[in-house]
Symmetry: C2
Subunit: 209 residues, 2 copies
């Protein structure tokens, strides 16, 4: 792989560009300029070109980019040219909502299993899925070839279930718990901290008052 250090912010924007291109395809657009993408997603046109330049030359000077072609490149760069299998640990409100969230499936993330420790949750159904006990974690990870683990358990249990998932062979973790998790270098971790997001809003409201 091109493994030159790519800024995190660039990767996030590529994801957003790809969604915008998908939208343009739906509208029947054939070509698009960096300026148009920029306006569509709220960045500068130079930013769009720089982001793409990390991965090659996809456009034609004086013309722009072919929408479907660029979309294909981006999906490949992002690793979305095939499906990823997902397991969710924690069948509370948030875990259950994520298990049923259509947005994931649309982008190729397939939730294969959802586990919990709570007796009263085990056995209940979420769409096609049945909530299973935590004991089957390792078995399910291997059986379904799970790539991504989603943590939606309370803070005090987050590190423990994370360790268990890594033990079982999961290589990427999406953490919704409000705890800083420790993972080995070869495991990819991202945190979605809902409270932090609200608190940044709060800070900004106070500032501009």
């Amino acid at each position: 792989m091109k493994a030159f250090k790519i800024p995190e912010a660039t990767v996030q924007r590529l994801s957003i560009y790809s969604r915008y291109l998908h939208q343009l395809m739906g509208e029947g657009e054939d070509t698009v300029s960096s300026g148009q993408i920029a306006r569509g997603v709220g960045v500068s046109s130079a930013q769009v070109r720089k982001d793409l330049a990390y991965f090659g030359e996809f456009g034609t000077r004086g013309v722009g980019y072919k929408v479907d072609e660029l979309y294909g490149y981006l999906m490949e760069i992002l690793g979305l040219d095939h499906e990823w299998n997902v397991i969710i640990i924690g069948a509370g409100k948030l875990g259950s909502a994520l298990a049923l969230y259509q947005g994931f499936r649309e982008r190729g993330f397939v939730v294969k299993a959802i586990l919990d420790v709570a007796e009263n949750k085990i056995g209940s159904t979420l769409g096609q899925l049945r909530v299973e006990p935590l004991d089957v974690l390792e078995k399910r990870v291997k059986e379904y070839d799970i790539h991504v683990g989603v943590v939606t358990v309370p803070a005090q249990e987050a590190q423990k279930v994370t360790d268990q998932m890594i033990q079982a062979g999961v290589k990427a973790i999406l953490n919704f718990s409000p705890r800083v998790l420790k993972v080995p270098h070869d495991v990819v971790l991202r945190n979605v901290d809902l409270s932090v997001n609200l608190e940044v809003l709060s800070f900004n409201m106070v500032q501009y008052k």
Copy 2:
């Protein structure tokens, strides 16, 4: 206010520091050093000191910081020394989960109302709340003195409900829809894009393979 430009990343870390300090208070710690905070949340000690330096001098050289005192300062800086009233638009899986999420209430964010357009959702109850039709948006915003609006509607409706909230007087928006929203300068916006998060994980898995 101290309105010198504070880096966004700094604000996010302050939120995380404050949670770690809360944890230390629970463990009965009296004082803490920047190095200890750093280890606790996974940053450098210089980073911790620089972040705090934007807002004043809170520590004692040779000693460290008083845990409860620093916690108090951070909560004040973040604007968490009082409650914020929240409205959620969209009573789908995600909106419902957020309406019931305890983590918000613990940090002073009180969900006062949840609205939807879908006939079949209106009237159903979520804890203390009843899902109401979108028509009452303006009325509820004024009645409950709503500060924060949470958008959990499908992409194609996101901009419309955002405009309506701003019209009604909401000054901060937390957007969970996969759309780039346009808001006036005096409205604070944050995006929590679940798919983008998974796609960044995907990218990193492909890179390190």
